[in-house]
């Protein structure tokens, strides 16, 4: 389970294709002006996440095959920017969902997780003891703004202002386009990792009230290392969105992102808990008891003779 998620290919972005299942596998019909319509078989079991852009149609059978292989399918906007919906693979252990909801529902533990997230980003000991959510947000804003200024100076861009308004998409500068594009790939991968663990993408610790709140929480851990410097390096690129996806993929390999996301989520949600996950194929559904914890399912628990 864990090695499978970590070993797989990170993402595949497709748009303007028809995806269907034939006798042998899931294939995409790609149409190009130069070579006409061609068929491309997709390595469903090897992919952790597929981003489907505009102009894509997919059959229910193909979608079911992705679901059976635990591949997350994201419906995204043009260039992988904005994520509208995602599928959830079935048959997962709920161990990590339980850790997540317990930490999330208790306000003290929620603040502790949020603090741990900030310390993971900016180094241990950077948060003063007893800081509340409001103070944490303040520190984060300052740090990110300082990073934007530093990189803008380094690449001689002048003033940089983060903007991701989809209504004025085409008029944005290359850095903003590249950053949005790389961030959506990052969201897709983080979303896939969260779903692969069986956690809820909706229960965020810092972000709140959105079906992807936890995705944004976890993705924020890696932006300063990964997507923000990448986006600034593409400030002269003629096609910043595709270039961002391409260089992001190389960055992922060097950064070993998927295994890192999985262990980071595990250490944030349950510090000190053993992080190996049992094989879901081997595990029966357990019953829960408030005093003894989990009780094996699949047996008759009638007391007495």
């Amino acid at each position: 389970m864990l090695p499978r998620v970590a070993d797989s290919l990170s993402f595949l972005y497709l748009d303007i294709v028809r995806i269907h299942q034939d006798d042998t596998g899931v294939c995409a019909e790609v149409t190009s002006e130069r070579r006409g319509t061609e068929t491309v078989y997709l390595p469903t079991a090897a992919l952790s996440c597929v981003l489907l852009g505009p102009g894509t149609s997919i059959t229910a059978r193909a979608l079911a095959t992705f679901a059976r292989h635990g591949t997350t399918v994201l419906i995204t906007g043009a260039g992988g920017v904005r994520c509208y919906a995602a599928t959830l693979p079935d048959s997962l252990t709920t161990t990590w969902l339980e850790h997540q909801t317990r930490a999330w529902a208790d306000d003290t533990r929620r603040l502790a997780v949020a603090t741990a997230m900030y310390e993971k980003r900016f180094g241990p000991g950077t948060v003063p003891a007893g800081a509340n959510f409001n103070q944490l947000r303040g520190f984060e804003g300052q740090r990110v703004k300082a990073l934007y200024q530093l990189l803008a100076r380094q690449y001689k861009i002048g003033r940089f202002r983060r903007a991701y308004d989809p209504d004025s998409w085409d008029t944005q500068d290359p850095v903003n386009l590249a950053l949005s594009s790389a961030n959506t790939c990052l969201y897709g991968i983080v979303h896939a990792a969260i779903l692969a663990l069986g956690c809820s993408p909706a229960l965020g610790f810092v972000h709140n009230g959105n079906q992807q709140a936890f995705v944004y929480d976890i993705a924020d851990l890696y932006k300063a290392d990964l997507t923000i410097p990448l986006a600034f390096s593409l400030h002269n690129s003629p096609d910043p969105e595709a270039a961002a996806r391409r260089s992001f993929r190389d960055g992922l390999r060097l950064f070993k992102l998927l295994p890192r996301i999985v262990t980071d989520i595990q250490t944030l949600l349950a510090p000190g808990h053993p992080t190996d996950i049992p094989d879901p194929e081997e595990q029966l559904v357990d019953l829960w008891d408030p005093t003894t914890g989990t009780v094996p399912g699949g047996t008759n628990h009638t007391p007495g003779p």
């Binding site: 993402f11 972005y13 294939c27 006409g36 061609e38 078989y41 391409r246 993929r249 190389d250 390999r253």
Partner: protein, 103 residues
């Protein structure tokens, strides 16, 4: 440093098959496997591309990318690698697809 290479060569002249078997094992008809240096690999590929006009050939060898390998193809009857923002998948024409669905 030598690394493993795989060459599949379809409808190529006999002299090329001889050249390939000097360096590689023909494990099954038209499929060659061996461990050679980058220099030998490039020389072999040059001689393959020189005489696969109507056939097809593909070379795969390890590379430091996400998939772990790189593909090269040549010849007129080949399938084409397509790059999806850094991920390489194979595309082939509609005709062969229809043939596969006949039965």
């Amino acid at each position: 440093m030598p690394s493993m290479i795989v060459i599949s060569a379809t409808a190529v002249p006999d002299h090329l098959r001889g050249a390939l078997t000097r360096w590689l094992l023909e494990v099954t008809p038209e499929l060659y496997i061996g461990t050679v240096s980058a220099r030998v690999r490039d020389e072999l590929w040059t001689s393959v591309t020189a005489c696969t006009a109507n056939g097809a050939a593909v070379l795969a060898y390890p590379a430091a990318n996400e998939q772990g390998f790189t593909l090269r193809t040549t010849g007129s009857r080949r399938r084409t690698p397509i790059d999806f923002d850094g991920l390489t998948l194979m595309a082939f024409g509609k005709k062969s697809q229809e043939m596969a669905n006949l039965f």
